[in-house]
Symmetry: C2
Subunit: 215 residues, 2 copies
Amino acid sequence: MVRKTVDGQIRNKERTKIKLIEAVGAIIRTEGYTGLGVNNIAKYAGVSKKLIYRYFENVENLIEAYVLNKDYWTNLNGKVNQLIELNKDDYGKTLASITLVDLFDKLMNDDETRKIILWEISEKNELMKEVSTLREIMGSKLFALTDPIFKEKDDDIRAIYALLLGGVYYLSLHSHAAGGSFCEINVENDEGKERIKNTIEKVIEWMFSKASETS
Amino acid sequence: MVRKTVDGQIRNKERTKIKLIEAVGAIIRTEGYTGLGVNNIAKYAGVSKKLIYRYFENVENLIEAYVLNKDYWTNLNGKVNQLIELNKDDYGKTLASITLVDLFDKLMNDDETRKIILWEISEKNELMKEVSTLREIMGSKLFALTDPIFKEKDDDIRAIYALLLGGVYYLSLHSHAAGGSFCEINVENDEGKERIKNTIEKVIEWMFSKASETS
DNA sequence: TTAATATGTCACCACTTAGTAACAATTTGT
DNA sequence: ACAAATTGTTACTAAGTGGTGACATATTAA
């Protein structure tokens, strides 16, 4: 027989798992992904590290549980159908702009998200490969929205988006590490931020207006 | 009296220092900057780690010696005036394209350069701040070339360039870490690479053609 | 040739790391 | 109430970290 999982006041499996997962977040926020060791996580959670192995097998799985819960794109997953419905009219033009600009804002302000991005590009990492793949699935749903208008054009909306998205990632990382200006723009102040956002919108706008031209 | 620094066959201060500095390069190439510990560097150099402290005081100084010795970005500095002269005709349009596309190729193939970029955005690092500043000086000379044509336009060539350059950095980093596709483009194969390069050229082309329109 | 000094190695320190075995205590089902 | 299973802690490996003092020896200057 399968016994009910322990749910007492003193011993409680689920509560402990949550403690561990939230410890991961706390560490990423304060120390960055380099602080994600078994000992440190257990210390933050106030619990024995043995339990990490018992409940998650290894640290990787624990972190995966955390990251999947936190990721910007995978979180959009729940809203994606709604978003698609709302953005059918302009073939996803507004959506493309908004997601990039929003993500830029989020990354500039949210240490946690930024450090996950950094972690993702830092090392050959099977976990991050999975996260990355999940994001792609999300993304393909959104690109399906834009395809009708770009169908027979040689303008490559995916390539444009990849470059802009990568640019957004990089700019936020750069500004929080080396800092200072980048291409003579300082995204640490509002004026710099606005220039980037306006340019993102302008490029997207241009792409779509070109694509909708009668050929 | 100051004695001549030892220059024998068995003991040789300068030779050892070079060994250590080159060990840093070898490690960055093979393991990335995370492998830059005292023990590891000494092992690569085939020398006692004690000497790192004796000759460089600490690991930071040793790494600084390496990066400055490599002179990545200041090396470009020598060619800058020549490049400007050659690209006056089209206000730097070709140059803007070429530098981005070339850099993309370089980053996709050169582990060392890519890992230094990664290091630069990974941590608050005074040394990397310096390198970053040097690059900005370089860049401003190139933007001087484009300014006449963009002068009274509200298109922001610096913001476009920042996004594209950041995009190039990010795409190369992503493909060597998580890998797989990004925005449904896989830059690990030639088809993906070409799509990115073509799009870079197209965006630059568009920017300049818009800027040169009579208003 | 000899003494002084620079160079290099080795063994060790205290600390941190990932991971495990043995054990104690709580919760569950009977 | 009591046994069985689950949850949690402690203490312990074995290996790796940055850093240092003691010592051996190659090189230099005399």
